[in-house]
Symmetry: C2
Subunit: 357 residues, 2 copies
């Protein structure tokens, strides 16, 4: 399905099937993919047809529901949970969601699991949308604070896509921008392109354009120049996993932006629902960092002049390539977390108080 | 001319013509371009057929020689100098070379200027090669110091291409690597791809592969993860212009690497001949930062599966793009300058002592 422009969410039910926006085709085409089975969901998450910490949690719950609709024994449940859990290692939402799904379904008889799983998947989607809206309301106050003291649009730098495409609706880092825009606060967003998969240039820029938010795309390396030149008031990024001490695993390059923000005394906020916190990870060192295929680096996909999507190789044939997807930003560089429960400092005590175990 | 593999320098005379490696086709094709006139040289420098601070200085001198071979009045000299000076703003080598060419040619009668200009261009090429070789000898000692205390290959991170392709021979940042390799010191180089033009992935990786230096390409954002993970012993980059206080203008993203190196206590060296220092720029704020076409960001060039070179668009049609080519790394983050006259600290007094006014 191509070209649905009335899409409001990234994932929804179409009868017995799950529809998702297949994000591999953006910004050039809006493609909706239908998942018929848990295997489709597994492939969709691992292959990054859907991505973003909150969304892959919700998508995994939908995958379990597809599995249960087919066969719902304990073994089928174990199998679905195990395979979905192994799709992506870094975002903790996947584990948090699958553990909750496990608790809810395990105690039900197999014949009730399909219906329960679907209700739960839908609830998780709704909860994520509500959490993100709350993050938007709370984060918009930070933007208003800046707007109150400058006589120009508030300048925000973000990285990767922590937008509604990474969630169900609203997004995490983008939610404050969308709420601020709703309220008429003038703002402008610097979008870091986010190599190797260009989620900034391809997804965040597309989202912001769709909603009429003023924005400019820059290469990832430009963050330092922007910050040192006084062109950024606030940095807001998302998180794939927050450790108990406030260390943040997020898209590779986030740490460099945090360093540059600190060097220029610009606040660096991480917008994340409490479902992205992992109190079992004491520090960032306990967070597994996914390494993906070198092809993501060597081959860049985009639109040719005659409108086809194709990949072009940018490296010499014989050169080795490594491709870590995430880095860890130490808590000391984080000004605060914008969660659905308020802005909290990057400190163990505040996190323990706010995040349910 | 395509496929000359016995090329030893980036620029040389072929009879009355100037030959250069046209770097836009690397790493996939080695193309040699012939310049017949100063206009060819101007287009070649502005269009980045040749690039790199030392090389654009030397190339400009060759451009003046081509101009003088055609017409050598004062007005022709002014015209050539003025047009070449305006090709690229950030690298100071261009100005330093053109001022020297002006001094040498102005005092000669027009009929002797063609021969003088050519001799001078050749001398400048030779001097650059000698300076770079000296940088290599001096910088290799820093690599040996690390090799003496670790029982594994020395891990070096570099950014952009400060290689022989950016100079005449040897390179600046790469010269210590090549000399270390000659001496049998085990080393491995992390090559930052360097968006938007990918000079790391396309040029540095190609150079290192050609000379058998072990290396791995990573995205620009990976530097923080590499440094925090203990995977880097030394950072060595080049410079487009060094101010009198030790601030360094270099390829956009250099500053982020310097911040990350400091945060992990890894030495950050800038390899640059004294011809890249500008004692007239008091600090980095006096260095003009070039902004180039947004197309460099939106369109990525590479090799298609059927072996053609093509560009693909990676951003949405309606998104604005900014493209600053350089950033400024403050002197406080620089461990030292590797110059042809020795390693000097990033301090005004040391720079004033070492660099001729």
């Amino acid at each position: 399905v191509v070209g649905q422009t009335n899409v409001k969410r990234t994932i929804w039910w179409d009868g017995q099937l799950v529809s998702v926006i297949d994000q591999r085709y953006l910004p050039h085409r809006l493609v909706v993919q239908r998942w018929r089975s848990v295997d489709d969901a597994i492939e969709g998450i691992r292959g990054m047809h859907v991505r973003g910490a909150p969304l892959i949690g919700v998508a995994a719950a939908h995958g379990v529901a597809l599995a249960m609709a087919s066969n719902a024994t304990d073994r089928d449940l174990d199998d679905a949970l195990g395979k979905l859990m192994s799709t992506r290692p870094t975002a903790v939402n996947l584990r948090n969601v699958l553990e909750r799904v496990d608790r809810e379904l395990r105690r039900r008889p197999p014949e009730l699991r399909a219906a329960s799983a679907r209700v739960l998947a839908e609830s998780l989607a709704d909860e994520d949308a509500e959490d993100c809206r709350a993050i938007g309301e709370i984060g918009a106050r930070l933007i208003r604070d800046v707007a109150d003291r400058v006589a120009r649009p508030v300048q925000i730098l973000t990285h990767c896509n922590a937008g509604w495409l990474a969630c169900v609706e609203w997004g995490t880092a983008t939610a404050p921008m969308y709420v601020a825009q709703e309220r008429g606060l003038p703002l402008h967003v610097w979008v870091s392109e986010t190599r190797p998969r260009n989620q900034g240039a391809a997804l965040t820029a597309w989202e912001l354009a769709e909603r009429g938010v003023a924005h400019t795309v820059v290469v990832d390396s430009a963050a330092g120049h922007l910050l040192r030149s006084g062109l950024v008031d606030l940095v807001i990024v998302g998180a794939d996993r927050v450790a108990a001490n406030g260390d943040v695993a997020n898209k590779i390059g986030t740490y460099l932006k945090a360093l540059a923000a600190r060097d220029s005394d610009v606040p660096f906020y991480v917008a994340a629902p409490t479902s992205s916190f992992d109190v079992r990870a004491a520090t960032g060192e306990d967070i597994p960092i996914e390494e993906r295929s070198s092809t993501e680096v060597t081959k860049v996909y985009g639109l040719t002049e005659n409108g086809h999507t194709t990949g072009v190789t940018v490296t010499p044939e014989g050169s080795a390539v490594r491709n870590w997807s995430f880095d860890v930003t130490p808590a000391r560089l984080v000004s605060g977390f914008i969660t659905e429960r308020g802005v909290i400092p990057a400190a163990p005590f505040a996190i323990a108080q706010t995040v349910p175990v």
